[in-house]
């Protein structure tokens, strides 16, 4: 699960990770109130959306008066912010973070995530803060220093010291960075985060070490033990069709193509998307209906897929292992009749009772393209697209 920057900072603050003073605002008036509370003469107005690259898109402004705080906030709220992570459609700004301006001396990078190759959490630091870390990793990998953490003991002081020295810090800056890294790791670990990225991590002229940005993601599988974090979910940031699908226990991801698909199992669903592409189409979605593909799941799946106007054909690919194909076929027939699907449907059912299933589909009088193998399904998709 993803959360907003200001929510991430609230969590960091709870775990004694230093952050600039700030607060969330939903209106320009509120923004001014927050700025007044913070005090000082310089504030930063930051658009809160679930995507990076906000600065370049005009989502981060430095205000030098309360009037400017008001003006920037007014302009930013309701605007569609387009960054390299939002896609061309962008995202509408509905919340702002108002923060104190800080005297930046150095911009650094720190990130914590699970390193799957060693099955341990790894802390990464770099002197190249404020840049796209993927770019640093690709061009100058030697500028990223990593330290894997043994889960049985957690982060050790020597590891934090080593990383802080690698950042070229000394004196009070070094000391504060050690404290920062240790607290950040604890926050990551205690909240079952899957990513904690601070970019930039800033060292101020006064020697303070602060998280200027905070990108924190959480392990969905562990949310059950963190109800307070689950509450941070912002449905406005998610695709409405995906939210709708999740209500029916369907795992749906919207894509930009013209062939919708409905599959049981995530791996087979990805493979089905690939085969649509090979057949000359573009997948319109990922949709895993899970183990029980019955009339209701198929009908709900149709509803979701057909809400996307780009869909010109549907490919249903079900490998019935434990679930019987003839039952799935009946579900497909009933759902097609009830939802009045008018675009071509290619159906491939394989596994238990596959022959009976094909007969049911062919005798239904509905316009199904019945395929027996994956190869045949691909050919039929190519066929219906050529019509």
């Amino acid at each position: 699960m993803k959360i907003h920057e200001y929510q991430g900072k609230q969590i960091l603050h709870k775990y004694n990770v230093s952050i600039p003073m700030g607060g969330v605002a939903f209106s320009a008036e509120e923004a001014v109130e927050v700025a007044k509370k913070i005090g000082g003469e310089v504030w930063v107005v930051k658009a809160q959306i679930h995507a990076g690259g906000r600065g370049k898109g005009g989502g981060v402004k430095v205000a030098k008066s309360l009037h400017e705080v008001y003006e920037y906030s007014k302009a930013m709220l309701g605007m569609t912010l387009i960054t390299h992570q939002t896609g061309p459609e962008g995202k509408i700004v509905k919340r702002l973070l108002i923060e104190q301006g800080v005297n930046i001396e150095k911009e650094l990078y720190v990130g914590i995530t699970l390193d799957r190759a060693v099955s341990k959490n790894v802390i990464m630091v770099s002197t190249e803060g404020g840049m796209e870390i993927e770019k640093v990793a690709a061009e100058t990998p030697e500028k990223i220093i990593k330290e894997a953490v043994d889960p049985s003991v957690g982060i050790m002081p020597y590891q934090a010291r080593k990383l802080a020295f690698a950042l070229g810090l000394s004196g009070v800056q070094h000391k504060n960075t050690v404290k920062f890294l240790t607290s950040l790791y604890k926050a990551y670990e205690k909240t079952d985060a899957s990513l904690a990225e601070i970019n930039p991590l800033v060292v101020t002229k006064e020697g303070d070490v602060l998280a200027l940005d905070a990108k924190i993601n959480f392990d969905d599988n562990a949310l059950y033990r963190h109800p307070e974090i689950a509450e941070y979910r912002d449905i406005d940031e998610e695709d409405p069709l995906e939210v709708e699908a999740s209500k029916y226990n369907l795992n749906y991801i919207k894509l930009d193509g013209n062939v919708g698909c409905m599959v049981n199992g995530a791996g087979l669903a990805m493979a089905t998307m690939d085969i649509i592409k090979l057949a000359g189409g573009e997948p319109a979605n990922f949709l895993d209906v899970g183990g029980g593909a019955n009339k209701e799941t198929v009908a709900n799946g149709f509803k979701i897929i057909l809400s996307d106007p780009n869909v010109k054909a549907i490919l249903i690919n079900i490998f019935g292992g434990i679930v019987r194909c003839d039952r799935v076929a009946q579900g497909v027939i009933d759902a097609t009749r009830e939802t009045h699907v008018s675009i071509p449907i290619v159906v491939r059912l394989e596994g238990t009772n596959a022959t009976e299933a094909s007969e049911l589909l062919e005798k239904s009088g509905l316009n199904f393209e019945v395929a027996h193998s994956l190869q045949e399904a691909a050919a039929k998709v190519t066929g219906v697209l050529a019509r």
Binding site: S119, N121, D192, D219, I253, Q375
Partner: protein, 334 residues
């Protein structure tokens, strides 16, 4: 032979009285798997479909000599169940449960690492050695006893590969679903090592997907150590970056873990990478035919030397046919 599970497997089902556990226990028993015990804390002393239920895995090991465990307990209790099995002396632990927190699995993985224990999963369909034992949730009937090993991160896509093999009249030695999570007990490398050492496995199908670098690590191992033909497929070439495609581990993050990268690494290692998932079976069939043709003259010569009457004329004819076929092929290629 086969790997991990066979007719010597004495299985204990952890969570045997739960919804999933009870259904699949019956399916496994029906297939012929020796299900010798079940474990449900608090239900020790009861009997499930003729299988004695114990309070602890240690009791199941002591009383029923269980040597393999399959886990169906809910995600919040699964890490505990794995470690209970490990500490009770179970050597092969297969965890089906989906949705275990990654932090829990990280602790489990690092705790059993280096010990003589094989953990398969979690979030996987299990392991089957056709004709010997089915330990998991896969449909038994699509499998056929034979000499191809299958290893995969997915469930239904594995069934697809198995079906394609069976349709080509190629049976399987063992099929292993390693699971779709970011932290799993056995990675591609671990299973491919076993297949490579197994005398009764002639070829390997590996089915990967986007996310992580396990396929690249396996490719590196195969390049150095594996002489058996390997057919590979990577699911998710059309998956967008930054989105989790159903499986917790199927995500392209920071531009890493793409299908293109994995396929390139695998091709470089000599793996026959198929573009379409519909071609896994046929590609393996071709590779095996080629291998047979290559080995046939040697076998024929050996047979002539010893002049053993055991070699049936039928077999010789098959070998001859294969030779002539391969000759034609090499001619047309040139």
């Amino acid at each position: 032979m086969s790997i991990l599970v066979n007719n010597k497997t004495r299985l204990v089902v952890q969570g045997i009285t739960g919804g999933e556990g009870s259904f699949h226990s019956l399916q496994m028993i029906e297939y012929g798997t020796k299900v010798v015990a079940g474990v449900t804390p608090g239900k020790g002393g009861t009997v499930f479909e003729g299988v004695p239920v114990f309070n602890t895995v240690a009791d199941a090991v002591k009383n029923q000599k269980a040597n393999t465990s399959v886990i169906f307990v809910p995600p919040a209790f699964a890490a505990d169940a794995i470690l209970e099995a490990a500490n009770a002396g179970i050597k092969v632990i297969i965890c089906i449960t989906e949705g275990i927190p990654a932090a829990d699995m990280m602790n489990v993985y690092n705790s059993i690492k280096g010990k003589d224990i094989t953990l398969v999963g979690p979030n996987c369909p299990g392991v089957i050695s056709p004709g010997q034992a089915k330990v998991g949730i896969m449909p038994g009937f699509i499998h056929k006893k034979g000499r191809i090993g299958v290893v995969s991160r997915s469930g239904t896509l594995t069934y697809e590969a198995v079906k394609q093999l069976t349709d080509q009249n190629l049976g399987q030695s063992t099929c292993v679903g390693i699971g779709g999570d970011p932290v799993i007990g056995s990675k591609f490398v671990d299973i491919i090592k076993l297949f490579n050492e197994d005398k009764d496995t002639d070829g390997i199908i590996m089915i990967g997907e986007i996310g992580g670098t396990a396929e690249e690590e396996a490719a590196e191992f195969i390049k150095k150590n594996v002489k058996k033909p390997v057919v590979g497929f990577i699911a998710g070439r059309t998956a967008p970056p930054g989105r989790r495609m159903g499986h917790a581990g199927a995500i392209i993050s920071g531009g890493k873990g793409t299908a293109a990268e994995k396929m390139a690494a695998m091709k470089k290692a000599g793996i026959m990478v198929v573009e379409s998932p519909a071609e896994m079976g046929i590609t393996m069939a071709k590779a095996i035919a080629k291998l047979k043709a290559k080995n046939a003259p040697a076998k024929k010569a050996a047979a002539q030397k010893t002049t053993q009457p055991k070699t049936t004329p039928k077999k010789k004819a098959v070998a001859k046919k294969a030779v002539s076929k391969s000759k034609i092929k090499s001619k047309t290629k040139k």
